[in-house]
Amino acid sequence: EAEVAQSPRYKITEKSQAVAFWCDPISGHATLYWYRQILGQGPELLVQFQDESVVDDSQLPKDRFSAERLKGVDSTLKIQPAELGDSAMYLCASRAPASGNTGELFFGEGSRLTVL
């Protein structure tokens, strides 16, 4: 069964350092999402891509976060510099191209970030 791949699964870093997360969506899924999930809360959308274009990054803290999907396939989410409040699970998800607004999201296993 096709899956959304994410790496690393776990990342511990010190504040002010740079950190990057990688996501490879299910093959053929043009829509890709990055969510942040703080412990004990629901996921919150950071950025949405349609192919290589950003559709929605209104909740992305652009002073320190950046995301790219240069070839419209895999994606990287970067944080620089990391702050203590960035400790969270970063989830990548993709959606099948023909499903539109009715389609469910397929999530990766997530990347858990701990900032010390």
Binding site: V4, Q6, T31, G40, Q41, G42, P43, E44, L45, Q48, V55, D56, L91, A93, R95, N101, T102, E104, L105, F106, F107, G108, E109, G110, R112
Partner: protein
């Protein structure tokens, strides 16, 4: 703005008993509603969705959910709980006229005891 409320942080149920996890929503336009399950240190897994049609939706692992438009609710149910159902459950909503943004509730932890 659209929103989802899951009023219970935790639901406790004995194995074999029926379970209900509550969800209410607020959107403009018609809602598309989803339930996801999350096991510890894992991503979210899709359980079921309501788009249109029959108000009772059946999904994975014996779960079902009932859409109630007048009460703006989409409660998750299962007739007989298993210990392995213990996990974190998230309700989510997307409006048919608000682009593709999917909004999640805060989650409900389900504990099924033997």
């Amino acid at each position: 703005a659209q929103s989802v409320a899951q009023p219970e942080d935790q639901v406790n149920v004995a194995e074999g008993n029926p379970l209900t996890v509550k969800c209410t929503y607020s959107v403009s336009g018609n809602p598309y509603l989803f339930w996801y399950v999350q096991y510890p240190n894992r991503g979210l897994q899709f359980l079921l969705k309501y788009i249109t049609g029959d108000n009772l939706v059946k999904g994975s692992y014996g779960f079902e959910a009932e859409f109630n438009k007048s009460q703006t609710s989409f409660h998750l149910k299962k007739p007989s709980a298993l210990v392995s159902d213990s996990a974190l459950y998230f309700c989510a909503v997307r409006s048919n006229n608000a682009g593709n943004m999917l909004t999640f509730g805060g989650g409900t932890r389900l504990m099924v005891k033997p």
